[in-house]
């Protein structure tokens, strides 16, 4: 962050030619795994992410069980080869934090009260990483939950905005994340436009925040449309398949 002397924006365009409010290309596939109860694949720019859902299932050890609701556990994992400098396998502090905030975000929409004493496990695997993996992972996880038939009040949709060379832009790619001034990932419940995940680091005034926030929410709404389309076409596939 904070190195403002690198030219990330030329003639009003970003390094990859995008406009300030333009998303990278996104592709969503539903039901990509055989064993998992639900799964989804998302390609978001150079990010490649799979999410899978197991549960509701038995929670061990027993004393962790909650008689009022299911326990939702989300594990975010970066594959060793997903980044240029190989990452050592196993959770680091960043992954643990993302797993926590993702669990919180998804818990807000899943009807956990329907499955007391159980656990719902969500696994997010980052196969290729290029900034924005937590948003991509959440979007895939929501679709995977829907694919698993787990009852939800709404879906979670997520997108980041940020500040690059003094401009507020949508959906940072790797170079912008590394060299830009701020990153603001947001996840929302689209129907109410309420926020279930929000993190930020860098430097923003109150006004810049408002602008970036609204841009990120707008991006998330666009992602929401793609999530719905992917889910509908997967259901159609099934119907046509039959």
């Amino acid at each position: 962050m904070a190195k403002e002397d690198i030219e990330l924006i030329k003639n009003g365009k970003r390094l990859d030619g995008r406009k300030f409010d333009e998303l990278r290309e996104i592709k969503i596939e539903v039901g990509v795994l055989s064993r998992a109860m639900g799964s989804a694949y998302i390609e978001w720019g150079k990010n490649k992410v799979i999410a899978a859902v197991y549960g509701p299932r038995e929670l061990h050890p027993k004393y962790l069980r909650d008689p009022r609701r299911a326990h939702l556990r989300c594990i975010y994992n970066l594959a060793p080869f997903s980044v240029e400098d190989r990452k050592r396998p196993g959770p680091d502090r960043r992954s643990v934090e993302i797993s926590k905030v993702s669990s919180d975000a998804l818990s807000s929409v899943v009807m956990l009260e329907k499955y007391p004493n159980t656990v719902i496990d969500i696994f997010i695997e980052i196969l290729q990483a290029d900034a924005g993996t937590r948003c991509a992972g959440l979007n895939a996880a929501s679709v995977a939950l829907a694919d698993a038939g787990i009852p939800m009040r709404d879906i979670v949709s997520s997108c980041a905005a940020g500040k690059v060379n003094g401009e507020i832009v949508l959906d940072l790619m790797k170079e912008e994340d590394n060299l830009g001034e701020c990153d603001l990932p947001v996840a929302i419940i689209p129907r109410k436009k309420e926020v279930v995940l929000l993190q930020m680091d860098g430097k923003l005034t109150r006004e810049e925040f408002k602008k970036a926030y609204e841009l990120a929410v707008d991006g998330a709404m666009r992602v929401y449309k793609m999530q719905k389309e992917a889910l509908i076409s997967s259901v159609n596939d099934v119907i046509i398949g039959e």
Binding site: K100, V101, D104, S108, L184, K193, V196, R206, V217
Partner: protein, 259 residues
């Protein structure tokens, strides 16, 4: 215990609905803050004990000489670790930091790092050698709002930190060569949402009762934010939490900097 927690949650929520808090505070009021700098000054390079109401956090700063990161070869290194010691709460267990401790450490870390509070370029010694600043957060008593107590104690401890003397490739322990260079004072302020109201500085009971939490770390800008909890926040709630955080941040900053 579980039933008691549910009942307390209802009680707190009803109070908030009436515009009240259990300890009589206004919604925009912090508990009493005491900052005792240099609390363990005989061994640590810097330290501060913060009492935020009954919540107690001790932060110690240690300096060592080590290697810089390859992508910033002329800058010092900072690492922030938090330990939620099992004495602080019946729900904390001995063992390596869990997700709660990691979240505290990372939010505090981001506030300090992104604000540029430590002048990292002044921690360069010679090629391949820089100062490593260890900020160790020791939560001793968890009565709510660990993040703010930890963040306040961390920057207070850093302001209190002396640089050890370094001569002939060796640290001379117990001798000092000035203060750690600090350029600004990032302050985290945490609000919670209970029954559509925004309250600052949640007590433990309020943390149980909350729908969502938002921490905003400020200097003259926002430097870090972290939403917590399984509920949702509306845009205006976020904006009012930001406003509150700037206001309270200024007050707390004066306390940290001292008279």
């Amino acid at each position: 215990m579980e039933i008691e927690a549910c009942l307390r949650k209802d009680y707190i929520t009803n109070l908030v609905r009436e515009g009240k808090r259990l300890d009589g505070r206004r919604f925009d009021e912090y508990r009493n803050i005491e900052i005792e700098k240099n609390y363990v000054g005989e061994k640590a390079c810097g330290s501060a004990l913060v009492r935020l109401g009954e919540t107690k956090v001790l932060v110690g700063v240690s300096l060592n000489v080590g290697e810089p990161y390859p992508d910033a070869p002329e800058e010092g290194v900072m690492t922030v670790s938090a330990e939620l010691r099992p004495m602080a709460s019946p729900s904390f267990e001995a063992g390596p930091p869990g997700e709660e401790a990691i979240e505290v450490a990372r939010v505090v870390d981001r506030g300090i790092r992104e604000s540029g509070a430590i002048e990292m370029e002044k921690l360069f010694i010679e090629e391949g050698k820089v100062w490593i600043v260890f900020v160790d957060i020791h939560v001793l008593d968890q009565e709510g709002n660990m993040i703010d107590a930890s963040g306040i104690a961390s920057i207070a401890a850093l302001l209190n930190t002396r640089m050890p003397r370094y001569e002939d490739d060796q640290i001379i322990r117990g001798e000092w060569s000035g203060k750690l260079p600090i350029s600004c004072v990032p302050v985290p302020c945490t609000s919670v949402k209970i029954d559509d109201s925004i309250l600052i500085d949640p007590s433990l009971d309020e943390e149980y009762a909350m729908d969502a939490r938002l921490t905003v770390v400020t200097t003259d800008t926002i430097n870090a934010m972290q939403k917590g909890g399984q509920g949702a926040l509306k845009e205006d709630e976020i904006l009012s939490a930001i406003d509150l955080s700037f206001d309270k941040g200024n007050e707390i900053r004066k306390l940290i900097q001292g008279p």
